[in-house]
């Protein structure tokens, strides 16, 4: 499907030329964690220990020791954050794909409705959407005699999947629109139905272009899951705060939050590198 070789005056998004494309292209895997990453982590660690030494009082447990003591609990909270992020992403993507396809529908009413919904959820603050989901959804659903409990974490997942839905819809629409219209026209001339063109010709090409921004969105979502601490869910952020309260020591404030930050960094940074790698791999060489 590499029909883009040579020049074109069609309004397409040309691949970005990376100055160091050759350097990165060959050894992507080996450079997955660049040396700079390790340097950053090292700096981070030393900052932590300096902070620890600077405010070390005798007679009390050392900072590193105390942080270590709370590590299992906060890690379990972090795993919960990851679970929420994955579930929101799945739900948001499923809904977003429908909404994205709705935006290119031939029915004006479907198109307009999908467009409105996309714009609404894409341009609303995440925290506000989360609040709406938390406080508008009941704590249990009664459909006839069936009672479906809606625990807080489920509502949070729904709440976070709303902005994901809006963003995925735009990614899908943009990805499909980025395929030159010539492809639609040639497929039509070969008697493909609209459905066939979409699923067999356009989407297979568009998916490649959608994956990097989709992964970016996932990384952003993962970091945004700390928002659920605001609505009273026991995530890593809430547990960190709980640890601070229990210790009642102000010198732990930075080290504990810093540990949380490192956890998110260690998870999100590889995703960012992988996204970059995929972007390069899928780039069409002009």
């Amino acid at each position: 499907m590499r029909t883009l070789s040579g020049t074109t005056d069609l309004p397409v998004l040309l691949p970005r030329r990376m100055p160091s494309a050759t350097e990165w292209g060959a050894a992507d895997g080996a450079r997955f964690f660049g040396s700079r990453t390790w340097l950053f982590l090292l700096l981070a660690m030393s900052a932590l220990s300096v902070a620890a030494q600077a405010s070390d009082a005798p007679a009390r447990a050392g900072i590193v020791e105390t942080v270590w003591k709370w590590m299992p609990l906060i890690s379990s909270g972090f795993l919960f954050n990851l679970l929420v992020s994955a579930a929101s992403m799945v739900l948001g993507t499923a809904l977003g794909v429908l909404l994205g396809l709705g935006q290119i529908s031939l029915h004006p009413s479907v198109r307009k409705a999908s467009w409105t919904l996309t714009q609404f959820f894409r341009n609303a603050p995440w925290l506000v959407l989360l609040f709406f989901a938390m406080f508008l959804l009941p704590f249990e659903l009664r459909i006839g005699g069936l009672v479906i409990p809606l625990p807080a974490w489920l509502k949070a997942i729904i709440g976070l999947s709303l902005p994901v839905m809006g963003n995925v819809a735009e990614i899908v629409r943009g990805g499909i629109r980025s395929i030159p219209t010539g492809q639609w026209e040639s497929a039509e001339s070969l008697a493909f139905s609209r459905m066939q063109i979409l699923w067999q010709i356009i989407i297979p090409q568009a998916v490649k272009r959608m994956i990097p921004p989709w992964m970016n969105l996932y990384a952003i979502l993962t970091m945004a899951t700390t928002l659920i601490s605001v609505v009273g869910i026991q995530d890593a952020m809430t547990l960190t705060r709980g640890a601070l309260v229990a210790e009642a020591r102000t010198d732990l404030y930075l080290p504990l939050y810093f540990m949380l930050l490192l956890m998110f960094f260690a998870y999100c940074y590889p995703i960012a590198r992988l996204t970059l790698m995929l972007e390069r791999r899928f780039a069409v060489n002009a």
Binding site: V110, P138, V245, A248
Partner: protein, 275 residues
């Protein structure tokens, strides 16, 4: 394509069609016993009333009270951490049966939830401030930056009376950290907790004091749904509450958790056990 479109419409309709259903609770005790668990909203960020231990369990004075109630009913306990912003909401939604979460017993709140009397604690308002701030009276706070915690009952009253510039934080550690960082000249808080903090022996607080006269004594109450207040469930909690005062249980718990004994509890104990 048609099927996709109907799919989209169905999915969107699902969101719009979710109707709010609030459970009606005719007999809470029976419900709790049938479930085998009492679900209680508690604080997990307010030492020593409710806070976390490193295993993730919530402990504290209020949790001890919850355990007493569960023992009486012969059920297990499920603790749901709540915040000042959602504790009454959770109770009225039916997500919790009871709320024991450092909740001040105010006139406005009495319209929303049932407050159990006698109250189990009383605090008053004061500030924690560096000695260098040289605060003498409440009026000195006018137009100065004062740190506070979200949802605390005294925030509003102090703001209206003395017009400080209130900087509100989500939890106590954040506010204390801001105070130490010099972002505000005082921290508005419960007086017994300030005393506990100052007496904690932390060198950090050596230059700090509780300079003002404690004001606005405020009772703390266990909350039940309004429909439960005069029903068997509310009555049971009320009876237990009287017992706690009479037997000195509350005073004992105060000591256990290192809270400076509050005059209110001493007085109630005398009043109830004397008669």
């Amino acid at each position: 394509m048609k099927s996709i479109l109907t799919g989209i419409m169905a999915a969107l309709g699902l969101f719009a069609g979710v109707a709010t259903t609030i459970a009606q609770t005719p007999d809470t005790i029976a419900q709790i016993k049938q479930r085998g668990t009492i679900v209680v909203g508690v604080k997990n960020d307010y030492k020593p009333w409710g806070f976390l231990d490193p295993s993730g369990k919530i402990v504290g004075m209020e949790i001890d009270l919850v355990d007493e109630i569960a023992k009486k009913l012969g059920v297990k306990v499920e603790l749901i951490p709540v915040t000042a912003a959602n504790r009454m909401e959770f109770l009225n939604q039916g997500r919790t049966d009871l709320v024991i979460a450092t909740m001040g017993d105010t006139e406005a709140r009495r319209k929303v939830v049932g407050m159990i009397e006698p109250n189990y604690y009383a605090g008053a308002t004061n500030v924690l401030a560096p000695k260098s701030a040289n605060l003498k009276k409440w009026e000195d706070l006018k137009d100065r930056k004062v740190c506070a915690v979200q949802g605390a009952y005294y925030n509003r009253r102090v703001t209206q009376l003395y017009q400080p510039e209130l900087i509100v934080f989500p939890a106590v550690p954040d506010a204390l950290n801001a105070l130490i960082g010099g972002n505000c000249i005082a921290f508005l808080f419960d007086d017994t907790l300030i005393v506990s903090t100052l007496a904690g022996g932390d060198q950090k607080w050596a230059g700090y004091e509780m300079p003002l006269t404690s004001e606005d004594p405020q009772l703390w109450a266990i909350g039940v749904r309004l429909t439960d207040l005069d029903a068997p469930f509310g009555k049971l909690i009320k009876e237990m509450s009287v017992d706690w005062h009479k037997s000195g249980k509350l005073l004992e718990l105060e000591k256990k958790w290192g809270i400076k004994s509050s005059p209110y509890l001493v007085e109630q104990n005398k009043k109830l056990s004397g008669s």
